[in-house]
């Protein structure tokens, strides 16, 4: 019995040593993903960026990841294990990991953490997000021009500022080109659930929507739209070009690669600092997928002009005059929204029907 124990102990020690040897050679970058890397949307794009980091630095980096990590107690364990595994830099890529990331960052002051879409920072914890609402403005423009029924369906995920911002931005720009446009919003309470998303898309189509916007990550709404025919959709998080030219006429593409590469470089150089990053079309974090020929040439040209204006910073997606849903004044003529209000946005703009669930 003692011999067996000794043998087992030596195996464990050997395993530990080999793990430590790897950690010293390369910078180890860890990723915590909320969905499977094959979701075709949010997690897929984060994983593409992980691969871009590997490509950029070759042998100098080693990346590790864990997919489908539930938000909550399991997340804290997953992040801690990643820290114990010797990661130098850890990206936690979903809002729900916020408190877990904060807790682990406190325990491992020498490891750098990056939390996507949150707002809590620490000396070794940065936050980063993308101004997806800029992309929503372009979608809204196309949606307003293209709809014949004047009903635009919107599959929303959770009623958090990120999602509400997207709805507002899309609505403002649809309304600008089509005063009769009406938004029908379904809250799916999921980021990724093909069955629920398909149901939501079908329900919206039955209610007369001929444009479907989505803030959920699967391609199920695209498939539902294709089946129904004559419905247009937009890729979410990734290009979803397999549904082009119809129903997918354009897309918002998350491009995390430049940011991940820059942050990994900073850790390698020892120049990493805690920051809050919120980049948009201009910095390349938000990409607008190719607008297909299903969109008339003049609409396409307008949409591209809008994209370029947002990218250069000459136009802001939230420019007054704008009122809140209850009719109270929000932005005066020519005034643009400040980042603080946008970050905590919990109201609809004037004209959107319905209520944000229980807030």
């Amino acid at each position: 019995m003692r011999a067996v124990k000794t043998l087992l102990a030596s195996v464990a020690v050997a395993a530990g040593l080999s793990g430590a040897a790897v950690a010293q050679d390369a910078t180890k970058v860890g990723f915590i993903f909320v969905g499977p890397i094959g979701d075709g949307g949010w997690t897929y794009e984060h994983n593409q960026a992980r691969l871009a980091v590997e490509e950029e630095f070759g042998d100098q980096v080693e990346t590790i990841y864990q997919e489908s990590v539930p938000e909550g107690a399991d997340a804290e364990r997953a992040i801690t294990q990643m820290a114990l595994a010797g990661a130098d830099l850890i990206f936690t890529t979903s809002f729900g990991y916020m408190d877990a990331t904060v807790a682990v960052a406190e325990k491992f002051p020498d490891i750098k953490f990056e939390h996507a879409t949150g707002y809590k920072t620490a000396p070794n914890l940065s936050v980063y997000s993308a101004r997806f609402y800029e992309g929503r403005a372009v979608q809204g423009h196309i949606a307003g021009k293209m709809t014949k029924s004047n009903i635009v369906g919107y599959i929303a995920s959770f009623p958090i500022p990120e999602v509400i911002r997207g709805i507002n931005s899309a609505y403002i720009h649809a309304k600008k080109v089509n005063p009769d446009v009406q938004f029908k919003i379904i809250w799916a309470y999921t980021w990724f659930d093909p069955a629920k998303e398909a149901d939501a898309a079908k329900a919206l189509i039955e209610q007369g929507a001929d444009v479907i916007l989505q803030h959920t990550d699967s391609t199920a709404p695209q498939a539902a739209a294709q089946e129904a025919g004559n419905i247009i959709t937009f890729g979410q998080a990734s290009d979803m070009s397999e549904y082009a030219p119809m129903p997918r006429v354009s897309s918002i593409i998350d491009n995390w690669a430049p940011y991940y590469i820059a942050r990994t470089k900073a850790v390698m150089d020892g120049t990493w600092e805690s920051t809050s990053t919120w980049d948009g079309i201009g910095a390349g974090m938000v990409g607008i997928g190719e607008i297909t020929d299903a969109v008339p040439a003049d609409v396409k040209a307008e949409a591209e002009a809008l994209r370029d204006a947002l990218g250069s910073g000459e136009y802001h997606a939230f420019t007054g005059p704008l009122n809140k849903q209850d009719g109270s004044a929000w932005l005066a003529e020519g005034e643009t929204a400040d980042d603080g209000t946008l970050a905590g946005m919990d109201f609809y703009v004037e004209g959107i029907e319905g209520e944000i669930p229980s807030s």
Partner: protein, 361 residues
């Protein structure tokens, strides 16, 4: 020619031995799967079963985490096993878990930021009551109207999930949360925080409650009249009727107890490891506990071991993803194999394998 011969009595030996056999079979089949995925099979299996316990770097962290992960599973499974033994099928522990968390957390948050020592006990009580009340719905509907408790309890899970989404964004939303859904974090509310009883062991109040539940269930089933009635009703319903077992009382007792224990598990989880009420706070413990109950043969000690084994495959599975880049789906397949082999091996405890040359007429 091999054929199976039904045993007059399920074999005691095989009932105890098949779980071990199932684990070995899973290691072999899982190893083949990992090998086909191009991963080193022995290393993968070692990572899943060995590293969480004895790895130099991970072990000290993972060992306490085993208790944290197993605690709620055991607590819920013990409750479920009572009903399952008596043929009362509560499939909705997930919903009762959620309701326990909501009620318990609600009581705690209502008194924020009080420092009274009574807050945590009050939350525990509210958690148990919340789960109990949610389980009483299928219970009362069954005894009054003869509805099917499987369907009712399962459907109530979805109701509870929607309630959870609602309170995370409304009633219990953190007023300082910048409009984001989710309650205050109990970490920042020491009087209501389900802290570790002994620091660094993972032993929080919920884990302690799970151990107490195991002992109580064991005593109840072996020494108490009510436990005898539970067993009798499951094994010989007709005899139970003649023995004067009151089915109404038994149904309400079994559903109520399992609901209360599931509610407790939810409360301990929300106020401790999870820390806050969020939209998707529940991560399937209520359903996984059903597997744990059966994996443990509905026996309290078996459930204790099964819960720990289940936790081991979760944590080991995470390590395997991390260290070897195994996909999450492969780990789920591996867990699925374990269940499959366990059920398949049951044949050995119910049947004798005979080798003979002539086919019996």
């Amino acid at each position: 020619m091999i054929h199976l011969e039904k045993r007059p009595q399920p074999s005691q030996f095989w009932a105890g031995f098949t779980p071990i056999l199932a684990v070995i079979a899973t290691m072999i089949a899982g190893g083949i799967m990992f090998w086909m995925l191009g991963k080193p099979p022995l290393e993968a299996i070692r990572t899943i079963f060995w590293d969480p316990l004895f790895h130099e770097t991970f072990g000290p962290y993972s060992r306490p985490q085993l208790l944290v992960k197993a605690g709620p599973l055991i607590l819920i499974a013990i409750g479920l096993s009572l009903g399952f033994r008596a043929g009362i099928w509560n499939i909705g522990a997930e919903g009762q878990y959620i309701m326990g968390a909501i009620c318990g957390a609600g009581v705690g948050l209502a008194f924020y930021p009080s420092e009274s020592v009574l807050i945590f006990p009050a939350m525990v009580l509210a958690g148990a009551l919340g789960g109990w009340a949610w389980a009483m719905i299928p219970g009362l509907l069954k005894v009054k109207f003869g509805t099917n408790e499987i369907l009712v309890s399962l459907m109530l899970v979805y109701v509870a999930e929607n309630l959870l989404a609602s309170v995370s964004q409304g009633l219990l939303k953190n007023p300082e949360g910048m409009g984001f859904p989710g309650s205050r974090n109990f970490r920042d509310f020491p009087a209501a925080y389900n802290t570790e009883i002994i620091s660094g062991t993972g032993m929080h109040w919920g884990v302690a409650a799970a151990f107490v539940a195991v002992i109580f269930a064991y005593v109840l089933l072996t020494r108490h009249m009510l436990g005898f009635q539970v067993r009798l009703t499951g094994e010989a319903p007709r005899a139970a009727r003649f023995a004067g077992v009151n089915p109404t009382r038994l149904i309400l007792f079994c559903l109520g107890t399992s609901g209360a224990l599931a509610g407790l598990a939810g409360l301990f989880e929300v106020s401790g490891p999870s820390g806050q009420v969020t939209i998707d706070f529940n991560s399937g413990y209520g359903f996984t506990a059903i597997i744990v109950a059966f994996l443990g043969r509905l026996h309290p000690i078996g459930i204790l071991l099964a819960g720990l084994l289940m936790a081991l495959t979760y944590i080991g599975g995470e390590l395997a993803q991390l260290m070897l880049g195994l996909p999450a789906a492969a780990i789920q397949m591996f867990q699925g194999m374990l269940m499959f082999f366990l059920l398949a091996m049951d044949v050995l405890s119910h049947y004798r394998i005979r080798f003979n040359k002539t086919v019996p007429v």
